[in-house]
Symmetry: C2
Amino acid sequence: MSNEGRVPHKVVVVGAGFGGLQLIHDLKHPGVSITLVDRRNHHLFQPLLYQVATTVLATSEIAWPIRHLFRDRDEVETLLAEVVGVDRHARIVKLKNGASLPYDTLVLATGSRHAYFGHDDWEAHAPGLKTLEDATTIRRRVLIAFERAELEPDPEIRQTLLTFVVIGAGATGVELAGMIAELAHHTLPREFRKIDTRKSRILLIEGGPRVLPAFSPTLSDYAKQALQDLGVEVLVNSQVTDTGAEGLKIGDTTIASRTIIWAAGVQASPAARWLDAKADRAGRVVVQPNLTVPGDEDIFVIGDTAMVEQDGKAVPGLAPAAKQQGAYVAKVIRRRLEGKPAPAAFKYRHQGNLATIGRRAAIIEYGKFRLRGSLAWWLWGIAHIYFLIGTRSRFAVAWSWLWIYLSGLQSARLITQRETMRED
Amino acid sequence: MSNEGRVPHKVVVVGAGFGGLQLIHDLKHPGVSITLVDRRNHHLFQPLLYQVATTVLATSEIAWPIRHLFRDRDEVETLLAEVVGVDRHARIVKLKNGASLPYDTLVLATGSRHAYFGHDDWEAHAPGLKTLEDATTIRRRVLIAFERAELEPDPEIRQTLLTFVVIGAGATGVELAGMIAELAHHTLPREFRKIDTRKSRILLIEGGPRVLPAFSPTLSDYAKQALQDLGVEVLVNSQVTDTGAEGLKIGDTTIASRTIIWAAGVQASPAARWLDAKADRAGRVVVQPNLTVPGDEDIFVIGDTAMVEQDGKAVPGLAPAAKQQGAYVAKVIRRRLEGKPAPAAFKYRHQGNLATIGRRAAIIEYGKFRLRGSLAWWLWGIAHIYFLIGTRSRFAVAWSWLWIYLSGLQSARLITQRETMRED
C-alpha cells in the first residue's frame, strides 16, 4: 500500500532462459514493474534439447509459451521482440523494430550460441544445437541420411551416409552420440530392406584427453565404456582441423561422413557489444562479484553470457548456475527497493553433474557421491521431470521416456520443413 | 510354399495415406512384393491436423514414420521418393531422382491438396491445411497475429490483427474456427497486457447456405449456434471474391484481416496427368466400378484422387472411403493371384459424419442416429483415439485432450521456423 501512486521501478529483463525466469519468479515486490523481452515466444528446457534432435521427444514437450508462465503476474509484461542495443546513457534498450524500452534496472540474460572458434563456415556442414530449429534440423539430417543410404546403390557412398560424427564430448555430445547409436542399433534395424542400420558408424570426437571432462576420471571411463558398448567409436585427443560436405579431417586423417554435428563450443550473446563492456575470450561480459557491469550498478548480466570467477575458476555455463544468479539478482533488487544493505557477493553452489548415455544408463556426481548405470538413469529422469514446467509436460515426457525405456523405439521421427529429400 | 522360387508379383503403391496403408495392411499374400513410395517419411492422421494448427496437439502425436508401420512385413519396402510420372507402356513409375520402379500392379493413392479455383495467388495470404508444414504455418501466423497486436499502438491496425477469417465451413473450417475462438476466449486472455484477446473477431465464411452441408439441416443449425456461442461470426451465402495481405472481399464488402485460412476446396494430385487419363473438374481420375483406370486393369486409383460414382453421387473424399477402397483393391489383387473370379464392383458404405465445435461439443450423424453436444464430443474423442496408430500415440493424444477439456489451455503454442516475428 505504501507504493500507491508511486511510479513503479522498471526492470527490463532480456532473455527468457533459466536465469531470466528465475529472476522474475523471485522478484515479487509491489513497487516493481517488469518487462521480459525475448525474440522467441517460448522458454526452452535446453538440457533435453538433444532428445528432440534424436527423435525421443516432441518440440512442445520441452518448450512453453513465455507469456503463459507469467499469466497471473499482472506486473509482468512479455514482449516478443529482438534487442539490438543498449544506450547506457539514455537508460534504454533498443529494439529491432525501432522502439525503445526505458529501464531503471536492466538484466541481460541472453545466453550463448554454439561457436566454431574462427571457423564459421563449418556451421553449414556441422550444425550445432541451441534452439528448437537446430534440433529439428539435426533430426532431419540424421533421418534423411538413413533414407538416402537405403536408395544408394554404391556401397562406399552408402557407408559414408551411414557414418555419423559428433564433435565434442561434453554432456550434449555424449548424449547425442548415445541416442543416435540407440536409433541405429535398436529403433531402425527392422525398418530398412537394403541397408543394415546396425552397420552404421557413430563417432564421438573429443579434443581433450577424456569424455565428459567435468566429471571425475572414473565416471569418464565408465561413460566411455558405456558408449563403446552402445556401438559408439570414441576418439579422444583428436582435434578436428577441417569439416566439409564430404566429411572432416583430424590432422592427416580424413573421415568420410555426410552427417556431422557440432557440440564442441559456445560463444556468448552480443551483450558485451551492446554494453561496450569488457568480455572474455568466449564473449562473456566480465561482471563484478554482485553480477553488475563494472561502473554501472543498475545493469546486471547473468547466466551463460556472464563471466564471474569463484575460487579462481569461472562459474560454469549450466542451468543451475543461471538460476542461482537470477535468484541472487532478484534479492539485490528487492533489498535496494527496501533500502536494505546489499547482500554479500554472489556465491555459486555446485549441484553436481548429470549425463545420460543412451536410453538406460546415466552418471551422476554430487561431491563425493557418484552413481552410474540404470539407477542413475532413473534418478536423472526423475530430477529432470521435476524441473519441467507444469503437470501436462511432466506427464507427457514421463510417458515418452517410459515408452522408449521399455520398447526401445524412438517415436518422434518426423522429417518436416522440406518438401522431399534433397536429391543431389 | 507353392510360390517358392517364383518371381513375386510386384505391387507399387504410391501414397501412404489412409487408402495406401489399408491396401498394404490387407494385401498379405506369399506371392507378392510391395513397394510403397511417398515423398514424406510419415503417414499423417489428417482428421486431426486442424488440432496441430490450433495449438492443441504436437506434430508427432498425429504422424508416424511410414517404415515403422511395416517393419515386420519383410515383403514391404518403403521408399522416400517423389513420383513424377508413369509409363503405362513400359509399366514403370518414374521417380524424380531419375530412377524407375517396374510394376505388375500399380495403385495410385496420392490424395489431394487444397485448391483455390483459379486463384492460386490467394495461397500466399490464405494458406490451406493439408500437411504438417501447413499446420505449423497456420499456427505460427495465428500466434504472431496476437503478438503483433500486443505491440501495435494504432487501435485500428490492432483490430485488424485480431481479426481471423476462415474460408469454408466444411468440417475443417468449422473445427479451425471453433478452436481459434477457444484460443482467443479461453487460453490467451490472462497472458496479454495491452490487448484483450476476447475482443478478437473470428469469422467463418461459407459460400453455400449453411455450415457443414454434409450433415442434416438440424445439426447444421446446432453447429452454427454452437459456433456463435463460442464467439464465431458465421457468414453463409458469402462468396469470397478477393484476398490479399490486408484482408478479403465478399462482393463490395471488405473485411480487414491479417490472418486468413483457406478451408474451401481441394484439388486432386496429378495422378490423372501421369496416366493421361480422364479427370473430373477437381482433377480426380474417373475410374471403373472396380477402381481401375479405363483400359488398364493393372492400374488402380483410390482415395481423394479417384472419382467413382455410387447412386448418382461421387463417393466423398473421406478417410473411411479411402480405407474401404484400399481394402477392396487388396481383395481384387488377392483374387487375381489366386485365380479366383473378381469381386463385385466397389461399394461404399457410409460410416456417418462427425465434427467437433470447440473443445467440448461435437455432432455425430449415422443414418437416422443423431447426437450433439458434450456426449457427442466424448464419442468423437474415443472414436478418433481408436483410429490412431499405436499405444504411445493413443495415450499421448488422450492426455492432451483431457488436459484441454479440463483446463481449457491449448499448450502446443510454439512459434518456430522463423528467427523472430516479421517486422514490416
